[in-house]
Symmetry: C2
């Protein structure tokens, strides 16, 4: 039993683990309105593309539950959906989850509200199952004694449970595989040093945290079996948007012939985005770089370049690890075909 849970429906509100206070404080916040959910997503109280998607679904539920008259519900849902989608522009799961709830309807207000809640619960349940499946599928490429590099946080904190890349590592450990996991600390928000370290300590999996700039040196001087990362969006051609620093890791992996895997649910695949150039890259507040908490680390007035994500071209991805199995190049053919088979 995990000592934490990224998000949960309380019966009347959405309870979120406040990830900005981790790893030192395990504290939850309660959202009772869609505005609170959107604000929590924007502020990264909840983070990780899959967790954001499920949180946004419950945000739609909260918006619907505040409505008392049937006729106004459609407009309220549209407004809620727009505000939630605007909270973080890069992850596709958010828009995908919200759109799934917009497809729900009902003959009367109470039924419609109940169906929305049921749809959000289904997303929650599916996310846990899909992530566990991703972890199982990944075992095909994780050897029994493996040295693995991981970027950002992609675990149970970023999802409903298990997670994508870190979930694959957790399933490997549960199956008795011996692992050494190198965690990129993942500047600027240090999700690796704080969140992924918090998870791996909880699971008892051996790991070391390193600065993001050390991955090339590690691969040049020691045997690394694979890199595994999650993603925020996969374009139709296989280009991957993920946390800033992913592309530098992929470049280092390529130079050392280390396989580079992207673990993600098929919901991360956005066939309407032809390639990486079409993915909007969020730029975040310069304080993420100039400060650690309240402590300034740069001189006053330091200008900053702070893209939150980067795009790793498809050519750097050895395979995608999805809940339905591994997907290999040419992604321009294999990814659409896979999505077609499932729809």
């Amino acid at each position: 039993m995990l000592p934490f849970r990224s998000l949960a429906w309380t019966g009347h509100s959405l309870r979120l683990l406040d990830q900005r206070r981790l790893p030192h404080v395990t504290e939850y916040v309660e959202c009772t309105t869609v505005a609170e959910v959107a604000a929590a997503i924007a502020a990264m109280t909840v983070r990780g593309a899959p967790a954001i998607g499920v949180a946004a679904a419950y945000g739609v539920v909260l918006a619907a539950q505040a409505v008392t008259d049937f006729d106004s519900l459609p407009a309220v849902l549209q407004t809620a959906a727009a505000s939630l989608k605007a909270a973080r522009p890069t992850a596709v799961n958010l828009a995908w989850a919200v759109d799934r709830l917009l497809q729900v309807s009902g003959p009367d207000l109470a039924t419609w509200q109940a169906r929305l809640l049921a749809a959000a619960h289904r997303l929650y349940q599916e996310d846990a199952e899909i992530n566990y499946q991703i972890g199982c599928q990944a075992q095909a490429v994780i050897p029994n004694e493996a040295t693995v590099i991981h970027h950002c946080n992609t675990g149970a904190l970023a999802t409903v449970d298990y997670g994508t890349a870190l979930g694959a590592i957790r399933v490997a450990a549960e199956q008795g595989k011996k692992l050494m996991v190198y965690l990129d600390e993942t500047r600027p928000r240090l999700q690796g040093a704080s969140l992924s370290a918090y998870e791996l300590l909880a699971y008892g999996i051996p790991f070391r945290v390193m600065v993001d700039g050390a991955s090339g040196h590690l691969m040049r001087t020691q045997k690394v079996d694979l890199c595994i990362v999650g993603c925020d969006r996969v374009a139709a051609n296989g280009d991957v948007a993920n946390k800033i620093g992913t592309y530098n890791l992929a470049l280092a992996a390529k130079a050392h012939n280390v396989p580079f895997y992207v673990a993600c649910p098929l919901s991360s695949l956005d066939l309407t985005t032809p390639h990486g150039e079409a993915i909007p890259i969020e730029e975040r507040d310069s304080r993420e770089i100039t400060h650690i908490g309240d402590r300034p680390i740069a001189p006053l007035g330091t200008p900053v370049y702070n893209p939150a994500f980067d795009v790793t071209p498809a050519a750097y991805v050895t395979a995608f690890i999805t809940e339905k199995g591994l997907v290999y190049p040419p992604y321009g053919e294999t990814l659409p075909r896979l999505r077609e088979m499932l729809s």
Copy 2:
């Protein structure tokens, strides 16, 4: 006139700018014994390979000045040299500067002491001149309107004045070139975000600080004219030891056909080191990664991998920028020949 000075001889002691307190506090510490100098080098009160070398030379002077009897001087100098060299194992300038002082001798104690001081002063003066020359030589490869990526701190704070890679940027600005400098923040010690930002603000040169993991994304999405870094040691074959993260930057530069220059004095060239594998790589305290100042950023008990330097293979270096001019491949031939011409 600069508002700071990395190191200066006061007449009876070595005054060091305490770089651990930068960028917020400009404060100096005074070393009156060789032990204090060695401790300041190990603690990174003074940092940057050239500044360390000059500081160590004055450390030898302080050791000699504490001696009152001629016969004991040689042994004292040997002990002082060993303790200084042990303070930081990677940079070659340190051993080189100390060895240069060990070649000094005199017919009596006072003369010997005076010659040691004069030799240290010469190193100080030479460092300032050599660095300015490096900056001038670099202008051949810095276009008039240039976007430049720089790693760590290699400026006046890391040397007696000007510095190597950052000195090249400063000379370019002094010559009226329009620059935009992207500074890798350079985890774990953030020399880019703190020290290089402090310098570029002082010089009025436009810049932005970014996380180390953003360089690939920057090069993939914007025109970058060159990367320029300093170094701690160059092996005979052209392999370069420099601050961790340099190699990842070089990998990204190579992938985007962005020239990657290493600016360094010829004293960084160590012909007794055949290649990068022979360079000892210092591993530093895990607190550099788990804490920012006193603030923990990782959970208690987080294990760490913290190499302070990495090795960039010669194949990734477009050219070395030295005080005598640019050096191009094949480095296994050009570097030894250059050194030969000068000795």
